[in-house]
Structure formats: C-alpha cells, structure tokens
C-alpha cells in the first residue's frame, strides 16, 4: 500500500511583526533587504525577543487541528550553514526530551479518513536566495533577508495518505482552515509550502523536497509513486533518500549532496526562556476561535436551507462567508448565498480581484432587495454586480445611472414586442405553430431592453399577441 506523509510550512502572514523582532511579518512589499534589523540579521550582540502573538496563533492552529497543546514550550537551535540563514542556525522547536513543541497528536478528517498530525512547531523562516546571470560564468547569488525571521508554523503529518488526491483534498481543507482562523493568507506567494514523503509496499521512505506549489506536489507524488513501483516490479531496492523535484523536467532527482545527512546539533535556545501556555490563555484562545468550517457549513444548511454544495463553497472561503454573514437577514439568506456562488464568484476569484473589488456586503443585500421587489431583473443584476465591483456605487445610484430598472410597464414592453414581431416574422410563424419556440422571441425582447423587461410580463404579452 502506498503511504504518503506531508511536511507543510505555513507563514503566519496575519501577524504584525516577525517572530523575534519588530520588523514586518509582511515582508513582501519591501525593496530587498529593507525589512531587516540587527535581530533578524543576526548581528553580533543582538538577542531574539519572542513575539507572544505568534505563540497564540500557532496554538490556535494546534487547537483547530485537534492537537494536544503542552503547558510550556521551548525553542531549539538547528545548526547548519546556509547563506539565507543570518545566524547560520535556525530557531525552531523539537520534540525530543518530552513534548515541547506547540502541538502534536492531532488529526484532520479527510473524506472520512483520519489523517494524523504528528506535530506542529513554531519556527523562523530563513531569507531568500535569488539567482541571477545567464551563463555559468556570470551566475551570481543574491540574498534578500526581508523574509528572515517571519513566523512559520511547520505541520507534520503521519504517512496516512494513500494517494495524491487525498493529499490535495487535505491541503485544501488545511488552507481553508488557516484562512478561516485568520492567522494566514495561504494564497500569498510562498505563504504555504509543502514537502512530501512516499513509500510503497515493501519499500523505503523517500522524501521529496524543493516543491514550488501544491500543484507540483501532486505531480511530484505521482511521479515518485510510479518510479518506485517500476523499481519494485523489477526487484530493484528502493533506497531511503531525499530527492529533489526538478521543476523543469517534472521528475524527482536524487540529491547526493552531503547537505541531506547533516547533523543539526540541536540544543536549547537559551536566549528564549521557556514559554508557559497556561489554561487561561487556552480558554481565551478557545473563546476567540472562529467557528470551524464544518460547523459553519452545517449551520448554513440547517438554518437557511442552503444547498450543501453552496454552503460548502461559502463556508470554506472566509472571504465569501464573511460577505454572506454580513449581508443576509434570515429571510434572504438563501438568495444571497446563491447570488454569491452564481454571479459573484467569477468576479472575485483571485486575491488581486478581491483587493481591487469595491463590493461590500451592503451591496449584496441591496441587490437582493432590488431583485425581489422586481426593480431589477436577474440579468440586469449581473451587469450591476460587475459595475459595483468596479466602482462601489450603490444599487440605487446604478439603477438611475445605468438605466437598469426593470421595465414592467405593459405599453412600453408592447412597443418593443411590435418591433420584434416586425423583424422576426419567421419566428413569429414558428411560435404560432410550436409554442415551445416562444422563448426565442422573449429573448429578443430582453436583448432589446438590455435585460430590463420583466420576463414574466413579456411572456404573457407575447402569448396573448400570438393567439
């Protein structure tokens, strides 16, 4: 049986500052090496100051993943030389002398299967290396330390996945969960990274590193399973090793470098005293813990009679569920849910679009009111929604400015029907013979009114005119 385990790194992007200094956790907006200080640069004489909020965020994650949380935690030094590591050691956590990392022994339910979370640890992200230069001769390595010291949570699972698809489902669940907790924005570039390990029946464990995206992770896992199976079929031993994902060739490559069997000489980081996580903190965190995605979904379905698929979309995406929760009153909840999942989704499906969007939950409730009292047709509401996202204007403003109000005045519609009957003589004949085709004429009327004609009334009028 194939066994897959994961090691996920997730930045706590929603924190104000880095793990051990007051530089910004959001390093992305800075010029290279402009979000640094003596502490995150590891200058001689500087000392780490632990960001207590990071301990709380990481503990929330542990709690949301049903982990056990210890009463106190310690930090360790992982010693290795690498140019992106200012101190040439990383401050991280370790579970050796008892359980001292921020959480462990948790699980996530993936389609009925329990994926065990072995441990969660809080650590600092290193800086970033940027390679420049075309040829081997002109190649240079640049180091940007803006990221160094960003709070990072490492989540390690047991090898409980049976196939890459389960991995994908798990990562989606995890990424939604982190976003819902308000501790991370997994959509940000580099905010969530995952390495995997694979073993097949009778074979050794192979770790895969250097995977750029979740998409590549799935590919890498597929490749690795196939590679191991074909070795096994030919009775070749699968050696325990670390392989790198070659993004260009889409294969895994054995990394022979000694780097991989390094001895990290872990020992206690004595500059950070033990951190007590008392019951009071846990209670407070529990109190502030947002409703879980699954309970949200359940509530949407039961309370508002929203279809399970729709509720799933809303609940899993914090952006949608926040919009929804703020927009609806009990009576229009279902309509707003549908409006979000049918019309709005395409307009705000990326982080960039969401950032640019001027839409508020107020707009959504205004729109539904306008549709329900027939000032606006469903078709026009789509146009209106596009405009709202762009300009942020109120529904009332748009109704007058864009001439979107529904036409339900019979004489006005009748005039247009006369025009359409003139232009579409054949269709009129067809409709008389076969009433099924009448929708074509309705469509033409809607086209001419840019969707503003009241569809029910139009159908009525056309039918009476035909007979």
């Amino acid at each position: 049986m194939t066994k897959i385990g994961l090691e996920i790194h997730c930045q706590l992007t929603e924190l104000q500052s880095k793990l051990f200094c007051s530089c910004k956790a959001n390093y992305r907006e800075f010029e290279p090496n402009h979000n640094i200080c003596p502490v995150c640069m590891g200058l001689p004489g500087s000392l780490p100051r632990l960001n207590q909020k990071a301990v709380e965020s990481a503990t929330s994650i542990a709690m949301a993943l049903s982990c056990e949380t210890p009463e106190k935690i310690a930090f360790f030094r992982k010693n290795y030389f690498y140019p992106d590591l200012p101190k040439n050691f990383q401050i991280t956590q370790l579970n050796v002398y008892g359980d001292m990392s921020i959480g462990g022994e948790g699980y996530v339910d993936v389609e009925g299967k329990k994926i065990k979370i072995r441990r969660i640890q809080l650590e600092e992200d290193p800086g970033r290396l940027i390679y420049e230069g075309e040829s081997e001769r002109t190649k240079i390595t640049l180091v940007d330390y803006n990221r160094a010291g960003t709070p990072l949570v490492e989540i390690v699972t047991d090898p409980d996945f049976e196939n890459p698809r389960q991995v994908r489902v798990f990562l989606n669940i995890l990424s939604d969960l982190l976003e819902n907790l308000g501790v991370s924005e997994p959509g940000l570039e580099g905010a969530m990274r995952a390495d995997g390990n694979v073993s097949i029946e009778g074979g050794n464990k192979v770790e895969i590193k250097n995977i750029g995206s979740f998409h590549d992770l799935e590919k890498a896992l597929h490749f690795e399973i196939t590679r191991q199976e074909s070795l096994s079929e030919r009775d070749i031993e699968i050696v325990q090793e670390t392989r790198h994902w070659d993004d260009r060739r889409k294969i895994t490559v054995s990394s022979r470098s000694k780097e991989e069997d390094q001895d990290y000489r872990y020992f206690l980081e004595n500059d950070i005293p033990w951190v007590k996580i008392d019951q009071e903190t846990i209670t407070l965190l529990q109190k502030d813990m947002p409703e879980s995605i699954s309970s949200k979904k359940e509530r949407f379905v039961e309370k508002f009679d929203i279809a399970p698929q729709v509720a799933d979309i809303l609940a899993s995406d914090k952006y949608y569920s926040d919009l929804f929760e703020n927009a609806h009153s009990n009576s229009n909840a279902k309509d707003i849910a549908n409006l979000i999942t049918t019309d709005l989704m395409g307009l705000v499906d990326t982080k960039e679009k969401r950032e640019e969007s001027k839409l508020t939950s107020q707009h959504l409730s205004e729109l539904i009111t306008a549709i329900n009292d027939k000032t606006l047709t469903r078709t026009s509401s789509k146009t209106a929604l596009q405009e709202i996202v762009k300009s942020g204007k109120s529904v009332k403003e748009l109704l007058t400015e864009m001439d979107l109000s529904q036409v339900s005045d019979s004489s006005e519609i009748e005039n247009i029907i006369i025009q359409v009957f003139e232009e579409e003589k054949q269709a009129v004949l067809d409709a008389k013979e076969n009433p099924e085709t009448v929708n074509y004429l309705v469509g033409k009327v809607m086209q001419k009114t840019k969707g503003k004609a009241d569809p029910t009334k139009t159908l009525e009028l056309i039918k009476s005119k035909l007979s």
């Binding site: 003596p38 200058l43 004489g45 500087s46 030389f81 001895d263 020992f267 004595n270 950070i272 005293p273």
Partner: protein, 481 residues
C-alpha cells in the same frame, strides 16, 4: 586631582567643584597616553570623550539635571556594542565591524552621564584567561608588566588597576571578570544570571554569561550595579530586580552570617601563597562575626569539563554567524562558491576560538552528545541542586578566586588543559547562575590575590555587604605604575 580615586569620591569632588569633569577626563586621557603603550588595556579610544565632558560641565554650571554618574570615565570590554564604534571582540574576524546599535548597559551609562573612555582588550571572543589570545596583542598586568593580567576581561581589569579609568564593564562566562579582577587587584562581580541585560554583548556561551562591573572598590561596584541592573525588553532572559538599591546598608556587616568554605576549591591545587591568603581571609571573616565551616560540593571536580563542553557547544553555534557575508573584514566574495568562501573567511579565527569551535562541533554531535554534551548538562543540574542545598545552610560560599597568582607571559599558553584549570573556582557561579564577586585581598611578592564570595540567586545586596566587610579588613599597596 588624584586619578586613584573611587567613583563615589569622584562624584563628591565634582559636585563640590574640586575639579571639572573636563579636567578629570583630560587627566585620564593623559594617563592612558602615558601608560597604555606598556599596558595595552585599550583596543580603541572614544575620540569625543573631552567633548562629552564639556557637555556635562555645562549642565552642571547651568544647574541643569545631571545624570548620577557625573561624567566619571569608564571603559567597556570590546565585545559590547556601541553605535558607531568598532566592536572587534579582539578578533580579526570582526576587524571592521561597526555596530549599528548600542548595548543596553552602555545606553544606561550614557543616559546617566558616564563617559566612555574606550574599548578594552580581551581574549578573542572572550575565550581565554590571560588576554594572550587577543588578535591585537596581550594586555600586561599593571602590577608587573611581565605578568598576565588574567582574562578574558584582562583589558578591563588592567585599565581600572592602572588608573586609566575609574571602572570598566567586562563579561564573565566562566570567570572572565573575576579572574582578571583577582590578578589585577580590583573588584569584579559576576551577577545573578539575568540581572544585567546582555543585549549588545556579543555571545560566547549565552546560557551562562553575564556582563559584570570591574571597579576599585566594593561600593563602586554597588553604584554601577544601581545604574546597569534590571529587566530589559530587549533581553527575554533578564529578571526583575525590583529596582534594588545595592548601596543601602552596604556597611551593615556580616555578624552572625554563615559561610561555607568550599572544600573542593580550597584543598588541592592552590599555590602556597593563595592557600595562606585564604586561611587568613577565613580568619578575617570569623573576626567580622561570621561562622565559617568547610562544605563539600562533590560535583565540583567535574565542573570544568562540563563547563568547556557546554560553552564549546554554544560557542560553535553562536560563532557560526561569522561567515563574512553581512559584515566582518575585507574579503571579496567574487569567484568563490559559498562553502569555499566561508572556509576561507572563517580561517581568520585565532587558535583558541578555532579549538573551541571544533570542540563545539563534536561534543553535541549525533553519536557523541550522550557521552559529552548531555552528560555535561547532567553535571550542571546536579551542581545546581548541590549548591542550592548548600545555600539552605549557608549565606555565602567562599574560595580564592584563582588557585594561583598571575604568571608570566607564555608560561601556560601552550598547555590548554592547565589553562582551563584556572577556571576551577569560578565556573561554578556561571553553571549555577549564582552571583559571585572577587575582592582584592592581598599582594604577595608584588602580585595580587583575590577572594571569591558566592551568593544565592539575586542576593547581590548581601553579597556586596560581605564583600565590603572583607574589603575593610584589607590594606593593599598602590599599583607600582
């Protein structure tokens, strides 16, 4: 104007108008010019010292508020950072390192109007006991220039002993303040771990080291502690000292106190001179009304080994950052691959630092940690419980600070193990986090001997009382320089 004054007397003189801050500062700088060519206590001088003095004089004459230090001159060990000045750790590795920030202790001194005279010499990265491992040449003992001043804060102790300042800040990882204080006949304190902020002190073995004052008198030590001790938001390991005043009741005496004479530090390995001085000191304590008796701490014979194992492990990690990529000295990285560049750049470390980095790579490594590093940690915790037990019974523990008097240059430098044993009496305070002070006790054959008093955690107030009491029993000659 007498440069042999104490901080306390200096402040009274300045307040009474006996001399100006500028006059005293100029005289101090002149003294440095006169003697430091021989002593070599300083690695660099503060060029703006006279200017700083004038500013304080102006404040005094204008009747403005003046900081409690009134411009007394103090030197700083060159492993403590001051904005804009070179902090070399007496290493070629940091030849051009200019700190972009100031250590908390220096910050506190400056905001109380102390004048920094300059940065003092040390064994490279504070690893050594003689300053012979400084990459910029050794400091000489002001009592006899052929003799070592002790280390690693040898420059600090020598600068105070030679009247090149009134006080100094050193750092003490295994005796580095107390040992040179003893060798140069000045007062040196290693405070309770966490009492003084380490922010800005370049780490050697961060779990046990502290910045400590080096002064001419015990009262001056209390005065300095008042200025520099206390919790610091830049150092998570600092402890609350409840704004203690370390000078209050310092003259109270030690009548009725119980003193444990540490058997393992006083029986074997002492030179006859040190042994004799120790016996005398015990009699003095008795005369002061204290009850002395021998106490055995059986773990002590293992402490030096544990100390070097732990400090090497931490040093290996703390010194890993010196790859010359972000700061350091001139060495172009052009054409090097990363690993070959750091091998090349790190070759600038001197022999003792290199030895400890190599040790530090070995003792905590997989397959060896159980035999060395983890065992050393066990010794440490056993020692802590032993010493804590002793403090259930005794107010103080005493020993000579060093088992021998100062020795000549070159005498022991090629014998690392003998050198390491010089730490025998001092490492216990570091491994247990307890405060310990070295008090000048005697000068025999022209060479000083210091006594060590160890107190319980955060007991600096009573420790200074005991030190003051012992100090009052001594009559010491002036330094012949």
């Amino acid at each position: 104007m007498n440069l042999k004054t104490s901080i306390i007397d200096y402040i009274n003189d300045v307040k009474s108008g006996a001399f100006t801050v500028e006059e005293f500062t100029s005289a101090t700088i002149q003294r440095i010019k006169d003697v430091d060519g021989d002593v070599h206590a300083y690695l660099s001088l503060n060029e703006s010292a006279i200017n700083d003095a004038r500013i304080i004089d102006k404040k005094i004459s204008a009747g403005e508020k003046v900081g409690v230090c009134y411009g007394f001159p103090i030197s700083i060990k060159d492993n403590i950072c001051i904005t804009g000045s070179k902090t070399t750790c007496a290493s070629k590795m940091l030849e051009n390192f200019v700190a972009p920030y100031t250590a908390t202790v220096v910050d506190k001194l400056q905001s109380e109007d102390a004048i920094i005279t300059g940065k003092t010499n040390l064994d490279e990265f504070a690893m050594g006991l003689t300053t012979e491992f400084s990459a910029y040449g050794p400091t000489k003992n002001p009592w006899n220039l052929k003799y070592v001043p002790g280390g690693s804060s040898g420059g600090s102790a020598a600068s105070v002993a030679a009247d090149e300042c009134l006080a100094s800040l050193g750092s003490d990882t295994g005796g580095s303040v107390r040992n040179p204080a003893s060798f140069c006949s000045v007062v040196g304190l290693k405070p309770t771990y966490g009492l003084i902020s380490r922010y800005g002190l370049i780490s050697y073995a961060n779990s046990i080291e502290q910045i400590g004052p080096v002064t001419k008198t015990v009262k001056d030590c209390g005065f300095l502690l008042n200025v520099i001790a206390g919790q610091d938001s830049n150092d998570d390991t600092t402890i609350d000292n409840e704004n203690s005043d370390y000078l209050i009741d310092i003259e109270q005496g030690i009548e009725g106190k119980k003193i444990g004479i540490i058997k393992e530090m006083t029986s074997e390995g002492l030179s006859p001179e040190v042994s004799d001085a120790t016996k005398n000191a015990i009699q003095d304590f008795e005369k002061l009304g204290a009850h002395c008796e021998e106490v055995s701490l059986p773990t002590i014979p293992y402490t030096v080994a544990a100390y070097y194992t732990i400090t090497s492990t931490e040093a290996g990690s703390n010194l890993a950052r010196y790859d010359n990529i972000r700061y350091g000295y001139d060495l172009d990285s052009e054409g090097y691959e990363y690993n070959s560049y750091i091998s090349k750049s790190r070759a600038k470390f001197g022999p003792e630092v290199t030895r400890r980095i190599i040790l530090g790579g070995f003792v905590p490594s997989a397959g060896h940690a159980g035999k060395y590093f983890l065992k050393a940690l066990k010794v440490k915790s056993k020692l802590i419980s032993e010493v804590n037990n002793a403090f259930e019974k005794y107010d103080f523990l005493i020993s000579p600070t060093a088992p021998v008097q100062p020795f000549q240059f070159g005498e022991k430098i090629d014998d690392p193990v003998t050198l390491m044993l010089l730490d025998y009496n001092t490492v216990t305070a570091n491994l247990t986090g307890k405060p310990a002070i070295s008090v000048p006790y005697r000068v025999t054959d022209g060479l000083p001997i210091g006594m060590q008093i160890i107190g319980n955690n955060k007991s600096e107030k009573s420790l200074l009382r005991a030190a003051y009491a012992l100090e009052s029993k001594t009559e010491l000659p002036e330094v012949p320089l």
